[in-house]
Structure formats: structure tokens, C-alpha cells
Symmetry: C2
Amino acid sequence: MTNPSTDNTRDRLLIQAEQLFAQKGFAAVSVREITAAADSNLAAINYHFGNKMNLYLSVFKERWVPRADGVRKFFRKYLSEKNDPDTADMVRAIATAFLVGSMTDNERQCHINLMLRELAHPTEAVNIVVEEVIRPMHIAVRELIRPSLPENICLEQLTLSIFSIISMIVYFGFAQPVVSRVMNQEFDPQFKSRVIDHIVSFAMNGINGIKNRTEEETV
Amino acid sequence: MTNPSTDNTRDRLLIQAEQLFAQKGFAAVSVREITAAADSNLAAINYHFGNKMNLYLSVFKERWVPRADGVRKFFRKYLSEKNDPDTADMVRAIATAFLVGSMTDNERQCHINLMLRELAHPTEAVNIVVEEVIRPMHIAVRELIRPSLPENICLEQLTLSIFSIISMIVYFGFAQPVVSRVMNQEFDPQFKSRVIDHIVSFAMNGINGIKNRTEEETV
DNA sequence: GTCTATAGCAGGATAGAC
DNA sequence: GTCTATCCTGCTATAGAC
């Protein structure tokens, strides 16, 4: 809910707008609902952001991108604490950064929902999502993993593997209610930790499969 | 219930409603937009479905579930054409059924969007999605794969693996525009076929990883 | 079953006082 | 910067003619 220490109306609007847009989508949320949640006046959105759409874009620029940066920082810090990290360390670093570190469960839900909504029905914000976060992250992960693989590794296979790893991480972040429901298993920290172990193991075997196939093919 | 085959308007409404709800979400679509797209009268939705929400639910009952059934049929047919199918055949069958067979690209986009929207912000329809499709599919896949694994396989590991496989398939179905954009690679049939090969290979190595770990642990 | 007309209301946006 | 009052558009839903 509203943080009392956030006496800045503009910030409160951004925080509540992000939450509501993520939950319900742009069209389903009214400016009345946002301003009420932010404990501010009906006219505040138009004063601070011009209109509703610009508030939506500001949510991506000022909240979504910084949070993605937070994930990247956690990832780098996690890796920097390892001596000579191998590929498994890297996969664990990504999964942990996204599923445990740097975000509360609510923030993660929020973050993923906003992204998926934007991919399902792109607005202007999709360019921010893809160009400022998804693409740089992909390139960074690829270049981190590549040195540990054979030099003549098929780049397409590697990139598809990274997409696969990301798909697992995003899915287990997004579909927690479904996973819980189907497995009849609460998503508590212990289970989450087993899920991360699973992702790392599954992904490592997948990547090693590429490595092995490439070696076979090039012999 | 009225006989759908004699009632064109009702079917046209369902078809157009599904398309628009999938693209934009429930709130962002007006009944005016749907009735215009279905080339019918503004009052038609209320006549045939009572109200807008009931049209939305009918989309899931009469279009979404049947299409999921179509995927399952394709999957079974694909498998029945193999003699003594192994786990890789099953993974390929699922991926192919979902990413190639039984749906056009547009229908797949539609199908996934509706599901993800419902998971992101559940309405009454989420029960249809989970109980009539996701859970039965999980159980079916699990029981198909299990016989080919060691008897004392950790059931949690197997279920998580199935979620991982599904996450890849859904992701490559949903995020085609992003994958194309990041890889600078059109999603043509050749590439799609390589993606399926990748999913099968990645998943098989992942599953074999479980198998091996279980064997080690039980020795 | 289909259509027109309209009731009744909620939405975004703005003007202008403070 | 904040607030009230208000405009006007667009929405869902319905009544009633055909």
C-alpha cells in the first residue's frame, strides 16, 4: 500500500499505477482508481503526467527499467562473489537474481505482468522493454556463457538455449499460482530453492547437450 | 442452447470476440467493436449471451477449450503413428502439436494470449483453463513419460521438468516477435522446425539429467 | 432474430479557485 | 501543487418496433 514516507504525489501515482496496470491492464484501470489508491486528487495524473497514457509510459521508464537494472546488478554481484564462475554459476545467478534477489514476490509479479501485457498487445512501451532490457540482457548472457563453450559453437543453438533458460525463469515467476495448484505445493522459500536447483540442472544439461553435439559434429 | 450451425451471428460474435479479447483484453474491447467486426447489430451480444462477461466466458467454453482439445488430438495422432515411441518422440509430439499442427499462427497467438491474460488477472474463466486443460494435460504427459524413467524417479523433479518443457513451448509460441527481433531471424517454417529440434534436444538432456541424478542417488 | 433509439452511467480531461 | 466542479465522450444494457 501507500508508503507514508513517500510524500511525493508523483511517486505515489507511479507506484500505484504500476501495481494496478500490472494487475488489470491499461484499459481496465481508471484514473479515478489510481488517484484514489495513491491518495491523491483526481486531477493529479493530468497535472503530473499530462494524460493517462503518458503515466503508463512513465511507469515503464521510471519503475520497470530501474527494476530490471536492479536484477542485473544483483546478478553481477552474485557472480562477482564466485571465483572463476562456470556456466552453472551463471545460470544460477540469473535464476536467483530474478526469482529471489532484488524483488519481492509482489514486485516480480508486477514486473512480469507488465512485460507480458506489453508483448501481448504492444504499445509504445514495447520498445523500452525490448531494446533497453531484453536485448542487452540477451547479449550480456550470451557473451558471458560463450567463453566456456567450444569456440565453434553454433550461435543459434546458444541463443535458443538462452531463450529457453529465460522461458523457464519467467514461467516459474509468472505461473506460480498454477504451479502451486497443479502440484498441490505451496511456493514457499524451500520449494522456490528446489525450483532454482531444477532450472539450473535442466538448463545445464540442455547447454551441455549443445556442447556435445557440436563436438560430435566437428570431429 | 441454440444450435450453433443454424445461428451464424452467434458464431461470428464468438470468433470476433475471441480475436479481440486475445489482442486487447476484456476491458479494452467494447461490445460495439465486437459487433461491428462480426458484422452484426449492437444489441446482438446481449441477445445471444446476455452480457459482455458471459460472451467472454463463452469464448473460453466454446472456442478455447475445443482448440486445446484439438492440440491433444493432434498430439495423440502424432504419437500413434510412431512404433514404440520414446520420451523424445513425446516431447516432439507436444511441441509439434502446439507450435505447428492443428493451429494457424494467428490462432496460436490468440490461444496463448487468452490463457496468459487469464493467468495474469484471473476471472471465472481461469478455472476452465486450469481444470479442464492445464491439469489434465500435465497428468497425461507425466503418465506417458514416467514409464520410460526409473521407477523411483522423484515425482517432483519430473513434474518440474514438464513445466519447463511447457514453458519453452509456450514461450516460443508467445514471444515469436521478440525472438525474431532479438535474433534478427524471421519465424519461417524452417526456423520453426529448428526451434522444435532445439526444444526436443534441450528437454531430453534435461530429463536425462534427472534420470542420471536419480540413478546416482539410489545406487 | 434483428434493428433503432435511448436510458443511465463511468470514463478522461480541463478550467479555474485556492 | 492541490482541489472542486463540470464537460463531453463512449460505454453497457434494455425497451420495443419490425
